[in-house]
Amino acid sequence: MFFKLTPTTGQPLYLQLMQQIRHAVETGALRDGEQLPGIRTLAEELVVSPNTVAKAYSELEHEGLLEMRHGSGAFVCVKRRTRSLADQVQIARRRLRDLIERLREDGLLDEEIRRAFEAELLYPAEIVRKR
């Protein structure tokens, strides 16, 4: 499994790792029951603090996507809910792709689209609903 963390973006490294593991499960790159590298191994491989890996694993365990077995590491645990979530994400991605395509047709540059997304994501949910 290959993960790539970007230290310079505005997102905590543990969240990046969580997303990449989730993504790998959604796309089927990681299967039910598959074992992930140990905290120390993955930390050394990615050259990040072991706390980063430990936090990502423990949050994913909390979400039910990983199962931590004492002494033997982390295992992927795909439940039905994860599958339906995977479908939802697939649909959302298609809609996003359409939207981005339209914005590009309108002449917006990718960098401008990215910044617009950043700004809108920071909008509190309630205000968006009001508009």
Partner: protein, 297 residues
């Protein structure tokens, strides 16, 4: 995360004849974490580290390392046994060979990690027969690091450990730091290399003119620090943005650039309420946070 601190100082102060090197420093370094200590040259980093190790006497204030008082000579002895320190200038005996140095130093420590010594000796490609005084700066640093890492310390204090290392050496150093951290060693290191700090540190402390200006987890820095660029139809209402979390505002004609350490959402909401025609948000890297922090205010 454990709340227990391996380094704790209260109003730690060091005044040299005419200059305050460290001013009322309240530092708390967490156990099992990798903490980076940043600051410009002369900000007081090395002075702080030397006080923690009992090599310099504080003018006032107090501190403890692993629970031992730093100013108590007897306790200081105990703490030095459990803390491995790599100094900025890496002092070693020049007349000894690399091999003699390793044998000499290891004899002081009953739980010396032979496995760590062997691994690093191989990784760092140290020449066993060479006299220490003939080593290059990078090799000297590697030898000093090996001696510290093989000691099985509870806490590692490193003063600019990557100085003089080439990119391969830096990568090996970072990997070793991660491995040590995974074994439960707490790490406190000063550095000018923002890029390496950004990769491995859990916590960042920024010292400027002897004062601690930032003490935050990198997760928080990444999540909350934002630069918000705003464009208004007319002269921007700068004063409206002086709210909690806004560290700095730059204004130019109808534009405002707001640097926020938190509350970016509130800034954006206010911008919309004030009819900003453009709102752009960008995360701020550690380099920019550092530069903004140490800028003259």
């Amino acid at each position: 995360m454990t709340d227990e601190a391996v380094i704790l100082t209260q109003a730690l102060t060091k005044t040299y004849r005419n200059a305050e090197a460290v001013r009322a420093l309240n530092l708390s370094v967490g156990r099992n974490r990798i903490t980076a200590f940043l600051g410009r040259n002369g900000a007081g980093k090395s002075t702080t580290i030397k006080m923690l190790l009992g090599m310099l006497r504080p003018t006032s204030g107090s501190g403890s390392v692993l629970g031992w008082e730093i100013t108590n000579a007897k306790e200081n002895c105990e703490l030095r046994r459990r803390v491995a320190y790599v100094a900025e200038d890496k002092p070693l005996y020049g007349y000894m060979t690399v091999e003699q140095t390793i044998r000499f130093v290891s004899s002081f420590y009953p739980d010396w990690r032979k496995d760590v010594e062997k691994k690093l000796f191989k990784d760092y490609e140290l020449p066993p027969e060479r006299k220490v005084k003939t080593l290059s700066k990078g090799m000297r640093t590697k030898l000093a690091l090996l001696l510290a890492f093989a000691r099985r310390p509870n806490l590692l204090i490193l003063d600019e450990p990557s100085e003089g290392l080439d990119p391969v050496g830096i990568e090996q150093l970072l990997q070793t730091l991660v491995a040590q951290s995974a074994e439960g060693v707490s790490i406190f290191f000063s550095s000018h290399q923002i890029g390496e700090v950004e990769r491995i540190a859990d916590q960042v402390c920024i010292l400027e003119k002897g004062c601690l200006l930032v003490d935050a987890s990198l997760d928080n820095l990444r999540q909350f620090y934002r630069r918000i660029d705003l464009v208004f139809p007319s002269a921007p209402p700068e004063g409206e943005f002086r709210i909690a979390g806004v560290e700095r505002i730059q204004a130019a004609s109808n534009r405002l650039s707001v640097f926020a350490s938190k509350n970016a959402e509130a800034v954006i909401e206010r911008a919309h309420d004030l009819n900003a025609v453009s709102v752009e948000v960008a995360p701020v890297g550690l380099r920019d946070i550092f530069l903004e922090t140490v800028k003259e205010r």
